[in-house]
């Protein structure tokens, strides 16, 4: 009943499917590539170069041709051409092989930085994208969003002043606080510090820092620092980084009297029938999920007890403020508890 041989049509079918998959595959597919190529215009390159120059200026690092070429991932020839164009536009100037923003170039760069950081904040708080995807997505959006649209988005989120990596977001007028803090690698043994910022580039370093569970606002205690490694306690866990990786983390030294960062236990470690007091929610739990937990009463001081385990092992149901709420294991490991301070007070358990 079919004129073509089934084997042949099978092959054709598989080929069509493969082509379709290739075209539609997220990130690496044809559509995604085309989309990226469309975004990656000459203007985008110019803006990225301005952004990088601003970053150097903000951190007080010098910025030469090669570092620009390296950051933008283009050849030195192309970078030289690009910088000439920027100079012709009056956005940058050159002094002794180093490049600086001019007074017309700086507001331009600040605007791009603002859109970028507002987008990162938006992605972190209002969407389900993971930390590894914020930066790349914001890199695409920063060239397409007008300053007005960015202001509107910021206003909707309550005008945030920091991006999720801890970088300050420039105000609409282009103001930015002075650079604060120092690299984690410059601390001494016994120092207690708070993480201000975690650099999201290069990708591989950021990936490892995220995997270690480091976040801005976290307190660290330096245990040992040598030429080859930095070891420190973060949230009671010992972390070891190479100095190169540790330099991606910006910290601020805390006064000596600051309470020693103690190890918190996690809600996921609570056994059935046990009780504990909530200490806080990890900053790694963001946006809707965080608000939901707080709405349910997961706030410092609440007494929480583990009651039931699902027939499939996860989630576990907890008794919170008189209601039984199921929480998945990966969320329960973002809630800090204190088992010792949970008093066996009958009056509180009914609350």
């Amino acid at each position: 009943m079919n004129s073509t041989h089934p084997g042949a049509s099978l092959l054709i079918g598989v080929a069509i499917l493969a082509v379709l998959l290739w075209a539609l595959w997220p990130k690496r597919g044809l559509l995604a590539l085309l989309n990226r190529a469309r975004m990656n215009t000459r203007r985008a390159l110019l803006e990225d170069a301005l952004k990088f120059l601003f970053d150097c200026e903000y951190k007080g690092v010098s910025c030469g041709l090669n570092s620009i070429a390296g950051n933008l991932n283009i050849s030195a020839d192309k970078a030289a051409h690009l910088l000439n164009r920027l100079r012709a536009m009056g956005l940058i100037r050159m002094e002794e092989q180093e490049f600086f923003l001019t007074d017309t170039g700086r507001p331009y760069a600040l605007r791009i930085v603002r859109v970028h950081r507002i987008w990162e904040r938006y992605l972190a708080d209002e969407t389900g994208m993971g930390p590894m995807e914020w930066h790349g997505e914001a890199d695409l959006q920063e060239h397409n969003m007008s300053a007005e649209a960015a202001d509107e988005l910021a206003a909707r989120m309550g005008n945030p002043v920091f991006d999720p990596h801890g970088d300050p977001i420039p105000s609409a007028r282009g103001e930015l606080p002075a650079h604060r803090g120092r690299a984690l690698s410059t601390l001494r043994e016994g120092d207690i510090a708070q993480i201000l910022h975690i650099e999201d580039e290069p990708h591989t370093i950021y990936e490892q820092l995220t995997a270690l569970g480091l976040y801005p606002g976290m307190q660290v205690y330096v245990m040992d620092i040598t030429e080859g490694k930095v070891s420190f306690a973060a949230n009671g866990e010992e972390c070891v980084l190479t100095p190169l990786f540790a330099s991606s983390v910006t910290v601020e030294l805390l006064p000596e009297r600051a309470p020693l960062p103690q190890k918190y236990e996690l809600l996921s470690s609570l056994k059935l029938g046990e009780k504990a007091e909530v200490v806080g929610i990890s900053p790694n739990c963001r946006g809707q999920q965080r608000r939901r937990l707080m709405d349910l009463g997961v706030v410092p001081g609440t007494i929480i007890s583990a009651e039931l385990r699902s027939a499939s092992n996860d989630p576990v149901a907890y008794r919170i403020m008189g209601a039984t709420i199921a929480i998945r294991k990966d969320q329960a490991s973002l809630i800090f508890i204190n088992k010792k301070e949970a008093l066996p007070n009958e009056q509180t358990s009914g609350l």
Partner: protein, 477 residues
């Protein structure tokens, strides 16, 4: 004057903004946390709660049973199977009664009335054979099962048992990137996909809710079970020795339903990792205390909110579709009707997928309800194969009491075992009915997700049918 005020205001605002940088990034959370903390301290000090201990400890005891490692799933399967069994066995009689009343008696009565009033043949055909018959069919086959299924389901919900099902199933759905409550919308979808889509409101996380809505169509709904059973009985049961026929054909239908659940999980997994990755997600699941169900209220809400609501939407779509069905069979271009033209043109193309033009046309024009697919297929088969003496005439849908007669028509239309298998697959994997599509649009308020939910199953269905057909041809012939 005004100008200086304006600049002063801006200066103050920018000063305030600059000060916020010094406050640090967790300032917001710290304030909210301290407010909550103070509130709970005050409450602890001042409010005394009547102890709810006895009631709660009974709840806990029941919960230990229904969520236990060994009993949790068997209890769940037994209860759900019971609900389906009551629905299927209970709906048979009222459905037959309604069909007798609306189709066997109502249709001829209206016809003779129209003849007495001297209506022109085309108006009589369009209104009575088209619009009325399609509406009557939808009501007769849809109403009884829904009127039984929804109250039973709502009772379980009211009792507090359904959240426990979600609690037990969550692990599986979490792995697919979905919410445990999708187990509920999925089961609800076995009754009616439109109701399943509405039920997805219980999922409060935006991404998981969209996943539940888009994949609900993979639950084999009420309107598709009869198609599956009929085709499996004729072709699959007919292909094995007689004493195995019942078991094998029942197994084939259950297999299709299970395949639907599998597709639902796999597609959820794919969606949550690709197109829906960016949507926000927030999981929480409350296990409310058990309570005695309020039977009357449950009956009322499930009949009005679910059954009548869905039925009304189906009827609204069935009326125009009935007219279209009558028109394509009765409007002629040259020698042939529109339907025959369509079937001839699409036959070569549909054969690649192991289907035929009749099936394709039936699925296009019977979009308001899966219930009228088989009557439409029978009518179109008789029409296009030019069979004499069967059926009620061009554009008049019909069904036969005898399975053997149905088989004769279908085999006469060129159906084989392969066609039957593909029809069963395509019946599972095709676009949702128009009622469900409209409901998806109402619930998501997005044309984009409605289109995804509509076309994703068709593409999947065509792919699955294509490979089934070509592999079959390669291996069997």
């Amino acid at each position: 004057m005004e100008k200086t005020q304006q600049t002063q205001r801006e200066d103050i605002l920018s000063l305030a903004n600059n000060l916020r940088w010094d406050l640090g990034m967790d300032f917001h959370d710290t304030i909210i946390e301290s407010i909550y903390e103070d509130a709970s301290k005050i409450a602890r000090k001042t409010a005394r709660l009547e102890s709810d201990k006895p009631a709660y400890s009974l709840d806990l005891k029941i919960d230990r049973w229904v969520t236990s490692r060994w009993l949790g799933f068997p209890i769940m399967f037994l209860l759900l199977a019971l609900v389906f069994w009551i629905t299927v066995s209970g709906a048979n009689y009222p459905s037959g009664l309604l069909a007798k009343l609306l189709i066997d008696m109502g249709h001829p009565a209206l016809k003779s009335l129209a003849a007495a009033a001297g209506l022109p043949w085309w108006l009589d055909g369009l209104l009575i054979d088209g619009a009325y018959l399609s509406m009557a069919w939808v009501i007769a086959v849809m109403l009884p099962p829904m009127a039984i299924f929804f109250p039973l389901f709502t009772l379980l919900e009211d009792l507090g048992y359904l959240p426990r099902v979600a609690f037990n199933m969550d692990n599986l759905f979490r792995k697919a990137g979905a919410h445990g409550k999708q187990a509920l919308t999925l089961s609800m979808g076995f009754g009616c996909n439109a109701a399943g889509v509405i039920a997805a409101r219980v999922i409060d996380s935006p991404r998981e809710r969209l996943i539940a809505i888009i994949t609900n169509n993979f639950s084999l709904c009420n309107g598709r079970w009869p198609t599956q059973i009929l085709i499996a009985t004729i072709f699959i049961g007919g292909a094995v020795p007689a004493h195995w026929a019942g078991l094998v054909s029942a197994g084939a239908v259950v297999g299709i339903a299970v395949l639907g659940i599998l597709f639902s999980l796999v597609v959820s997994w794919g969606l949550s990792r690709t197109v829906l990755k960016g949507e926000a997600s927030a999981f929480s699941l409350e296990l409310p205390p058990y309570r005695p169900p309020r039977i009357l209220q449950t009956l009322y809400t499930s009949l009005i909110d679910r059954t009548i609501f869905v039925l009304w939407r189906a009827v609204v779509f069935a009326v125009p579709a009935g007219m279209v069905i009558w028109l394509v069979a009765n409007v002629h271009i040259g020698e042939l009707s529109l339907a025959e033209h369509f079937i001839r043109i699409t036959n070569p193309f549909t054969l690649i997928f192991g289907l035929n033009g009749v099936i394709l046309l039936a699925y296009v024009i019977a979009i308001p309800a899966n219930e009228i697919v088989i009557p439409t297929i029978l009518m179109l088969t008789v029409l296009s194969a030019g069979m004499a003496g069967v059926g009620e005439g061009a554009g008049v849908m019909f069904e036969l009491d005898s399975v053997a007669d149905t088989e004769n028509i279908l085999r006469g239309g060129g159906w084989t075992l392969l066609t039957a298998i593909n029809l069963m697959l395509f019946s599972l994997l095709h676009n949702p009915c128009s009622t469900t599509i409209y409901t998806i649009y109402k619930e998501t308020n997005s044309a984009k997700w409605t289109l995804v939910a509509t076309f994703l199953p068709i593409v999947l269905g065509l792919v699955v049918c294509f490979f089934t057909t070509q592999l079959w041809l390669l291996l069997v012939n």
